[in-house]
């Protein structure tokens, strides 16, 4: 891997992503955990930029950092969970061993098949742009049906969230 802007960016975003993720699972204060979650999601958005998917990077920042992380922050504040829980973890050691084993299995499973002759020599020169994505989303031979189903799903989830979280006494 030669040293250029993309590889430097890859290292930086790896530090962001994995460091933020470790902060999420390790921190005792959940409010700080949401900040770590934002750091990790920002790193993932950086990967999307490196993989020439700028639209997904923008959506990642808008939806995840702008909406989901703020929603989680509200949930942390509404449930006052910081002071109530003494122990962070249950069954720490078996879970840690299980996660480590899963990581090794995943690493071997995803890297062995693409090493050697099956490794992609170079990335394709031409890549689909955001304009192509927008055209495909409303193309009748493309993804218009999943697009509409996603709209229905979002509406149902919104109504369901309001209905579940509604205070029945008021």
């Amino acid at each position: 891997m030669e040293l250029n802007a993309i590889s430097i960016g890859f290292v930086v975003f790896t530090v962001f992503t994995l460091g933020g993720a470790l902060g999420v699972v390790a921190t005792r204060n959940l409010f700080q955990g949401t900040i770590w979650l934002m750091v990790s999601l920002f790193g993932v958005a950086g990967y999307f930029v490196l993989l020439s998917a700028p639209f997904l990077a923008a959506v990642q920042i808008l939806v995840y950092i702008g909406a989901i992380a703020i929603l989680i922050t509200f949930a942390v504040m509404l449930t006052r969970s910081i002071a109530l829980i003494k122990a962070r973890y249950i069954r720490t050691l078996p879970n840690f061993i299980a996660s480590l084993t899963l990581f090794l299995i995943l690493l071997l499973g995803v890297t062995i098949p693409i090493f050697g002759p099956h490794s992609p020599e170079s990335i394709p020169e031409y890549v689909a742009s955001t304009r192509d994505l927008g055209a495909a989303l409303v193309d009748e031979n493309g993804y218009v049906l999943p697009f509409l189903l996603a709209s229905v799903l979002l509406t149902a989830a919104m109504i369901g969230a309001i209905f579940i979280a509604r205070d029945e006494t008021t």
Binding site: L37, L51, V59, I68, F103, L137, G160
Partner: protein, 105 residues
């Protein structure tokens, strides 16, 4: 260029960290945050495979669109999940999943 397996290795690490959080954390909000980490690991994999695959003459957008739909489902899941957590907290004054067992036979 960054080789494909590096993206996959980072995604595997992120997924494993998320699995550890889901299994080991005692707070339901922390579990939901770890689920978000796992979904992001899947998204990295999808976009990386989409970018490195040979598109040929056709424009293949499957990976790109799939990632967008995973984002949508993640948003819906977070909204409904947090609503359930808030309701459980209101009824039982607790966010520990083991203590929410009213449906246990």
């Amino acid at each position: 260029m960054v080789p494909l397996w590096m993206y996959l290795a980072v995604a595997a690490a992120l997924f494993s960290i998320g699995v550890f959080g889901v299994l080991a954390r005692r707070n339901a909000v922390a579990i939901l945050m770890s689920v978000e980490l796992m979904l992001n690991a899947v998204n990295i994999n999808l976009v990386a495979f989409w970018r490195y695959s040979e598109t040929g003459t056709d424009l293949l957008l499957n990976g790109y669109v799939f990632t967008a739909f995973v984002l949508i489902v993640a948003a819906a899941e977070a909204a409904v999940g947090l609503a359930i957590i808030i309701t459980v907290y209101r009824n039982r004054r607790s966010v520990v999943p083991e203590e929410a067992r009213a449906l246990k036979g």
